[in-house]
């Protein structure tokens, strides 16, 4: 159970066909991530880590190679099928939070469940539960301009959990928040990981990456280092 694969990519390639040059954003990336891992993907800007994250998040499709997420082949799906995969299997946490403006925390957390066809009473119940889990049980009616950056990111985490996804995918989750609150967010990630959630996090900050169990380093579209199973995480 512990070693069951949840993300498996083989020979992923991504080429952007813009302009005359064809920069190869990803070259031959093969990764295997098991259930209940907490993985940080690191790399300098332009290394291809964002491209990898978009493909892992079913926001983009690879030029070639295969991607199996939770037993489903994702790399060849249509737009609407990808939307369905994103809804059911992936919980997104963005650098810029991306909450709906002027909308309550509760409604924001409910949004993926609206698209997932969860009945309304259950939606409200689940949204409340996840907001309590991230420590915002007393702020469910606050809108994003009434919340701090750390609090907004916690709403986003609750939203990411809403559909009980196979993985939580975080893109620079602490990039826009104060360092004191960044530690809190990492604490929540570690707690969620201990409770059985699989987390994949993109970051370029080493001290943030150190909170993960495993660090994958990407450079020029290739994996250059993978600390698979040989790392003590920072607490």
């Amino acid at each position: 159970m512990k070693n069951e694969s949840i993300i498996q990519t083989t020979h992923l390639r991504k080429v952007y066909t813009t302009g005359t040059v064809e920069p190869e954003a990803l070259q031959d990336v093969s990764i295997n991530i098991n259930k209940v891992e907490f993985v940080a993907i690191m790399g300098p800007s332009g290394s291809g880590k964002s491209t990898l994250m978009h493909i892992l998040g079913a926001l983009d499709t690879p030029t070639s190679g295969t991607y199996i997420l939770d037993g489903e082949e994702v790399s060849k799906l249509s737009d609407d099928e990808l939307a369905d995969i994103r809804n059911r299997k992936i919980g997104f946490i963005f650098q810029a939070f991306n909450l709906l403006p002027r909308t309550s925390a509760l409604k924001n957390v409910m949004l993926p469940m609206v698209y997932g066809g969860v009945p309304k009473p259950e939606r409200i119940e689940r949204a409340k539960k996840f907001l309590e889990m991230v420590g915002l049980g007393d702020r469910i009616d606050h809108t994003s301009n009434q919340l701090s950056g750390g609090q907004m990111q916690r709403v986003a985490i609750a939203r990411g959990l809403a559909m009980n996804p196979a993985i939580l995918l975080a893109d620079e989750p602490t990039g826009n928040i104060a360092s004191s609150q960044a530690a809190e967010i990492m604490g929540i990630f570690q707690k969620l990981n201990e409770e059985g959630h699989t987390i994949v996090m993109i970051t370029h900050e080493l001290d943030i990456a150190e909170h993960a169990n495993r660090v994958i380093l990407i450079k020029d579209g290739k994996i250059v280092k993978d600390s698979n199973g040989h790392k003590q995480r920072k607490v």
Binding site: D60, D79, Y115
Partner: protein
């Protein structure tokens, strides 16, 4: 995802973004409201002019002497001396005339009238007792000139309300004397105000018996005009022909182009006026069309801007699992609700402004359902099209591109 859910999502979204929603609705409100108001004002004005002309009597025909003489040489209408009381009596009694119900022979002169120390220059009209029936004159007080007055060449006068205010200044004029052209008349009646109609002020006149005017005052035996009342507006053309042939025969003229008189019908004037106000309505429709176009461009702008502004939101919704169809549906429903609410407010606003205008200016209140439908359809169509099109474009973007959109 059910449609009920999409509708409630759209409603919540519009409620949350009140400023954006109301700005977009405002474009539609102004677009529709201005068209309805302008068309309503135009039609009210047209109807008003027609009603004023109708109030002169739609069945009215007027025979004037002098015009159409010798083809190219046209005499001034009313200036001739060829029309006589015998002509008028012939029209009344001839068995060939079947379409005329009343005949009113008239003689006009402008002259100076005096009461005590005040005087004024006004129109004096020699009339018979039939005059108020033909011209729809109603008496305010006293009596009109009777057949006995005409027969006896009595020196009696009936005055219009303008004369009362010009010469009598609050004193009851009935029984007072008035000097017309050096002779003294007794006032026996005052007419009700008819208001200015643009064809001579019917309030600023003095009526005297025709016989008195012809023989005692001005010493002439001709008439300025004969007013005829046709039995109905439909037969006024027949009446014109019947009277024309009778007068040609009486004046011993063979060729109608030699006629020493002319006949106008009120219908002719009405037609001319309708053509004029029709031009006016065309002008207003043009203005309305331009405001519809400007309003439409306004709606288009605000819809394009708001949807483009929401590209990131569309990206987020797609990332969280919204399918393309659902996003387009949501934006389309928002546009439909917005257009409908804006349209209803615009229609009510347009009606209200037209109504206020009619109350303030005392004019008619007319609504044109066709212009309401057209304004609503055009504004609504533009609102929905430009709500849908950018949403469709945005929903086709990769979610990641849409999320990065600034």
């Amino acid at each position: 995802m059910e449609y009920r859910e999409i509708i409630s999502e759209a409603m919540v979204n519009m409620g949350v973004n009140k400023l954006r929603t109301s700005l977009a609705a405002l474009g539609i409100i102004i677009g529709i409201g201005s068209v309805i108001t302008l068309v309503s004002l135009g039609q009210a004005t047209q109807q008003q002019v027609q009603n004023q002309i109708q109030s002169l009597g739609a069945n009215l025909l007027t025979v004037n002497p002098g015009a159409q003489r010798n083809g190219a040489l046209r005499g001034a209408s009313g200036g001739g001396t060829t029309l006589t009381l015998d002509d008028a009596n012939a029209i009344k009694s001839s068995p060939q005339i079947t379409t005329i119900s009343n005949v009113s022979p008239e003689l006009y002169r402008r002259t100076q009238v005096i009461t005590g120390s005040t005087n004024t220059n006004t129109q004096v009209i020699g009339v018979t007792s039939i005059y108020p029936i033909v011209h729809k004159i109603i008496l305010d007080s006293g009596n009109f000139i009777s057949d006995r007055d005409t027969k006896a060449m009595a020196k009696v006068a009936v005055i219009g309300p303008q004369i009362v205010s010009d010469l009598f200044n609050g004193v009851d004029p009935i029984g007072q004397n008035i000097r017309i052209f050096g002779q003294t008349f007794v006032i026996i009646g005052v007419t009700q105000s008819k208001g200015g109609t643009g064809f001579g002020n019917q309030d600023d006149v003095i009526y005297v018996p025709l016989s008195t005017a012809q023989k005692q005052l001005f010493g002439v035996d001709y008439l300025s005009s004969v007013a005829l009342e046709a039995k109905s507006a439909e037969v006024s053309v027949d009446a014109q022909n019947e009277v024309g042939y009778l007068l040609l025969a009486r004046h011993k003229l063979k060729d109608p182009s030699q006629a020493d008189f002319s006949i106008f019908s009120q219908q002719d004037i009405l037609n001319t006026a309708s053509a004029t106000t029709g031009t006016f309505t065309t002008l207003l429709s043009g203005i309305a069309a331009i405001s519809l176009l400007v309003g439409g461009i306004g709606i288009m702008n605000i819809m394009l801007v708001t949807v483009t502004e929401r590209t990131r939101e569309i990206g987020l919704r797609k990332a969280l699992g919204a399918k393309k169809k659902i996003i387009i549906s949501q934006f389309l429903i928002e546009a439909i609700i917005l257009t409908f609410i804006g349209g209803v407010i615009g229609i009510m606003g347009g009606i209200l402004v037209s109504y206020i205008y009619s109350v303030v200016t005392g004019s008619l209140f007319i609504l044109s359902p066709a212009s309401i439908m057209l304004a609503f359809a055009v504004s609504g169509g533009i609102g929905i099209l430009f709500g849908w099109y950018p949403a469709r474009r945005a929903s086709n973007l990769q979610p990641i591109e849409a999320l990065r959109y600034e």
